[in-house]
């Protein structure tokens, strides 16, 4: 018998921490955007950012001025205590597409709750692509010659990878629960995680999603207790009847996002280490690059405080948002 105390959690530590440190050969800048909890990142002739504190979806003009692309979207707290709202954003043709979480406590239910929604412009009401989710954390849009577009998404609540068909989320794969050893948790509870008892299970919690080479690449964040090195990046074919996940990189600390660069690297963003008393520890998040030809991971940026999204821009720059209130830009040092 275990997990008597249900542990659904994240965040909120606020410890002063040194600036993140880029790897040699890289230059780091922080963009002074003034967003409290920047989350989703996209690129369309400039940077687009969502903010989980205010529900804003903004374009960053070259002079740094923010232009709202939609009306503010609902924000709240998700089932894990994490801020929720416009998690991720993409640009498809002239539409802004957003994966949207849950509203605040006591808010009236709305069609945009736990949905993927799109906007033609800031004045129009959103179009609901699908609300067939518990927690549509991340998504990708695949351009198709006939069908125009296909939306693939992860539902972090249902632990599924899905394809949107006619507004319904069709399950491509449901991630099984992950096994954990009681010894990893005995310092939290002597009754629920006694040494020598059988392993217990946690939700896989798919979080970040990228599409490359006909495969979906998914970060498995892992449910509480967020044990050290308990996360992974897996990939699975999008076509075929019975996709089988392949572990690409294991031993990660709460991997929250994955992205591909144009030069054959996979970027992995880890939220970092978790402390039972204070939540995710400031300064332990990191960005790594994996050369897909060698499989070798290399750190690009260390010392992040609750990073959440990584974006590889077409110009070679890399952007990282952190819900501690930061948006960073990494450039190759000249």
């Amino acid at each position: 018998m275990r997990r008597a105390l249900i542990l659904l959690a994240l965040l909120f530590p606020s410890v002063a921490v040194a600036d993140p440190t880029p790897a040699a050969g890289w230059k780091l800048e922080e963009l002074p955007l003034g967003l409290k909890q920047p989350s989703g990142l996209a690129w369309a002739d400039g940077l687009i950012v969502t903010d989980l504190a205010t529900g804003r979806v903004v374009r960053v003009k070259r002079d740094g001025v923010l232009v709202d692309l939609t009306k503010p979207l609902p924000v709240g707290i998700d089932v894990m205590g994490q801020p929720t709202g416009p998690y991720k954003v993409k640009v498809f043709w002239h539409s802004i597409v957003v994966s949207q979480g849950w509203p605040d406590a006591n808010a009236e239910p709305a069609p945009t709750d736990h949905a993927i929604i799109s906007f033609w412009n800031s004045e129009m009401a959103p179009r609901i692509t699908s609300s067939d989710f518990w927690n549509p954390y991340d998504f990708e849009i695949i351009e198709r010659p006939i069908d125009l577009a296909e939306v693939i998404a992860v539902d972090a609540g249902k632990n599924t990878l899905v394809r949107i068909e006619g507004g319904a989320a069709k399950v491509i794969y449901e991630f099984p629960r992950l096994k954990r050893e009681p010894s990893e948790m005995s310092a939290l509870s002597p009754t629920e995680f006694a040494e020598g008892t059988e392993p217990y299970e946690v939700d896989a919690v798919p979080a970040g999603l990228a599409i490359s080479d006909g495969r979906a690449w998914v970060t498995l964040f892992g449910g509480f207790p967020f044990v050290p090195k308990g996360g992974a990046v897996v990939s699975l074919a999008l076509e075929g009847d019975a996709p089988t996940p392949r572990t690409e990189v294991g031993g990660l600390d709460s991997p929250i996002d994955v992205e591909f660069t144009n030069d054959g690297h996979m970027l992995i963003l880890e939220m970092g280490a978790f402390d039972m008393a204070t939540g995710f520890v400031a300064g332990t998040g990191r960005l790594s690059a994996v050369d897909l030809r060698t499989g070798k991971p290399e750190p690009l940026l260390d010392g992040l405080d609750r990073p959440i999204t990584v974006l590889a821009a077409p110009n070679g720059e890399i952007y990282v948002s952190a819900i501690s209130g930061h948006v960073y830009r990494l450039k190759r040092a000249q």
Binding site: D104, A105, P190, E192
Partner: protein, 243 residues
Amino acid sequence: MRVRPVLTIVFCVCGGGAIADQAWPLPDNPPVMIPGGAALSPAGEAVQLPTFRISKFEISNAEYRRFVAETGHRPSHFDGHAEIARDAYPVVGVSWDDAMVYCRHYGLSLPTETQWDWMARGRERREYAWGNEAPGADHANRGGMACCQPDDSDGFAGTAPVGTFPKGDTPEGVSDVTGNVWEWVDGWYEDGLADNAGEAHKFRVLRGGAWNSDDAHLKASYRLGYRGDFRYAANGGFRCVEP
């Protein structure tokens, strides 16, 4: 020490009258008087427990938010959540210290583990708050038959508004003692071990089971040990007692 039951009952009635006249600081959470008696400590030692008053309900989100507004204390971890942070639901996402500071702010305290056990089990050492009958869907907000998954056959997959299951009240009228949320108590887990061998204090105790608990965890005798500084549980709350 032997205690004569008849004397205990008389003592309780007299003492209870005096306590009942005193003011109670939680306006939306009335006190329930628990007659004292010959209780057992977590280690099984006989304790003559005086009559005391305890909040009828687990502390709600509305009550906790009022406390946060009055004191500037940190909100619960789940404050703002669309479902479990609703006003009438029990507050969760609080550490043992958060809970004790709340109670002390109102001149109260967390119940000692002995008080909690006596309140929940009575002199007859009931298995559940209402008696020994196995938990039914109308007794408590409970989990599935296998640990530790939510179950909505009682109408709630997660927490439920406090006082939703009056059939599960204790004979004195304390609500949600079994199920809904685990309740922090004042005491150390190690002190209740049969042979603690002088173990250092590391873990606090929660009692009563929660919305995801099976029958074994719902038993009033079950002691859940946890780090007291842990505040990320969606099923851990508390109630207060007059010290």
